[in-house]
Symmetry: none
Subunit: 205 residues, 4 copies
Amino acid sequence: MSRVVKLENKTDERTIASSRVVKKNNIIKIAANLFSKKSFHDVTMDEIAEKVGVAKGTIYLYFSSKDNLYLEILEHTFGSIEALLDKEVNTASLAPEKLKKVLAIVIKFYRENIDVLKILSRDETHLIQEHHDLTEKWRLRRIELYEKIIEKGIKEGSFKTGNTELAALILYGAVGAVMVFYDPEKSPEAIAEELYSEIASGLFH
Amino acid sequence: MSRVVKLENKTDERTIASSRVVKKNNIIKIAANLFSKKSFHDVTMDEIAEKVGVAKGTIYLYFSSKDNLYLEILEHTFGSIEALLDKEVNTASLAPEKLKKVLAIVIKFYRENIDVLKILSRDETHLIQEHHDLTEKWRLRRIELYEKIIEKGIKEGSFKTGNTELAALILYGAVGAVMVFYDPEKSPEAIAEELYSEIASGLFH
Amino acid sequence: MSRVVKLENKTDERTIASSRVVKKNNIIKIAANLFSKKSFHDVTMDEIAEKVGVAKGTIYLYFSSKDNLYLEILEHTFGSIEALLDKEVNTASLAPEKLKKVLAIVIKFYRENIDVLKILSRDETHLIQEHHDLTEKWRLRRIELYEKIIEKGIKEGSFKTGNTELAALILYGAVGAVMVFYDPEKSPEAIAEELYSEIASGLFH
Amino acid sequence: MSRVVKLENKTDERTIASSRVVKKNNIIKIAANLFSKKSFHDVTMDEIAEKVGVAKGTIYLYFSSKDNLYLEILEHTFGSIEALLDKEVNTASLAPEKLKKVLAIVIKFYRENIDVLKILSRDETHLIQEHHDLTEKWRLRRIELYEKIIEKGIKEGSFKTGNTELAALILYGAVGAVMVFYDPEKSPEAIAEELYSEIASGLFH
DNA sequence: AATGAATGAGATTTCATTCAT
DNA sequence: CATGAATGAAATCTCATTCAT
């Protein structure tokens, strides 16, 4: 027994901390997959625990409640896309190029995180105020980003639009529909290109 | 004798039937409002009964189950919009006119039935296969309709697009975003007009 | 309207009373059939009303409650068999003849009232004290009757048994099993004869 | 490490399993007692939980539904009596001895498991097909057993009967009545002996 | 840290009974 | 007398959360 204790002590705090994070992320990943297929109430803690391969009580060592687990899934994903987009936003590229890049990033990210984004796209807005706030924040950030790029494009002389707000909304909606329903065989870059050219030049010129 | 009795009864069969329908529609309306604010599982039959102002069991005189009530709400609304659109589709107007009309109808209908359409737009895919089927049907109908009008426009020489399917998807997504988030003070017709011109001529021409 | 009232008045009190009895018996008959196929709680008042062809409330004009309806079914049947047996008991026949006759009457009655007797054979003894009392009374009457006949037979010199009580119990149990499970093609009289001779002479003489 | 942990846990897998079985059997015993006094629908899960001394949900950790609990009660008992009888059937004793033994076993078992056997004897045919099947199986097994012993007795020259089937039915019915209503002070063996001699030699020789 | 048995509040649904017409 | 819509108490079953080990 004492040997065992000693062996445990070899794992220093950093390792323990990182192991904790690893385990937490593992739960998040598996739970996200379940939530993507069923609604909040249709996923049970029993189910999550079983799929993760731990006892039910263990989940509560990492998340204070089911609500909290759900929120952490969303925040986790939200953080990632924000980081990705921030990087692109801060480059020096011209508006059209930047917009195409952003569209490609969004579409690619959607595909890679389809589980969580299905949750976000679902309007389970009510559940908890925090969830509602997060989905709203997500939408506003996207629209703001599109507006900024459009304005930049106007300044650069490459875009013309009478209504920046409306144009951003149209982009937001179009991207949402296209990334979900348009040919899944095509690469994100190809889709972004097509989408851009169709929208930019006018659908029905 | 039976005739005499019938004369005594002021409520004939038509009245009775209509009273039943009225009561049923009342429940649908109130339940739809609740479902629009919370998810399926977060709305309880107790709550619905209380808001309607009847005992819980009464709901079951009109709907066989909670699932059934939910579905009837969707079907009820689905039928209405289909009827409205069918009427417009069968007119002789040219494609641009027809498209603007359709957009206005969709936006107007959304506003008038916001409760139910929030439910329909929600991806509660899992819940019951029927709900999934209905939302899919809804989406496909809309996209098909847009495709048909676009093709008509191409034939008439007023539209040009390299990719009808993509254009329809963009329209579908854009309408969805605009009708929910764009200035609610503007009339559906005004929004339809703006949306059309922005999209048709190219967002960034 | 006044003509109708006049027509109603033509049915005098006797007719009304008898009509009431007729309707009541009709409900009893149909309800008994339902109770014979399902347990007390599995038969609903809705079901009874529907099968009878009246509105649910109407049942309550004839029976004060579901319990009461159930009891009246039992009492109704109990009265009939008692009357039948009393008639036979009061004849002058010798014990063997009398016993065979009684057995035949019981078996025949069982077949004709199979619905109700299935209810009685079911031990739903608890339900209501009155029901328990009735089934017990039924059993005791039968056993008493067998005992009386056996004693009469002993006096007459045609029966010999060391234990009248036990013999009566054996008869009671045997009749119960035979009338339910033995060849339903045979006539009650034939079965009574076979049963009597098998039991009387000794199963394994 | 895992071995160390196991040493710490005093309850090994066998103990855990047996504890589960013990708890399950406890629920079965208490529920059986309740079901013996009231019909299926008159016993509530609340009541069972309360009498067992656990929360309602706990019952569902051991039984998947009320139906399942009910059936497990029956199967549990059915298995026991079958085992007991099988043992006796396979002995070399002569038919009369074997029959008396079987009768005694059945009567003794009935007394010791009176709760469950009251349920089994009840004709709650409808409830669930499985219950019906089980009670039918029970009856047929008993009757088959009696037939086999009677045939054996005939071969051995100790029994004579013109109708094995009828004789078996009579035995079945008689045992049922006697074990329930005959003097509960007497031992099963004594009752079996009396019953045998009364039936064998002829009730009314 | 990890477990998983136990909890009990709460959800859906049924149905005997009432009562206004 | 007859109706049948409405009632609401009560039943089964689920599942997030806790806690002793």
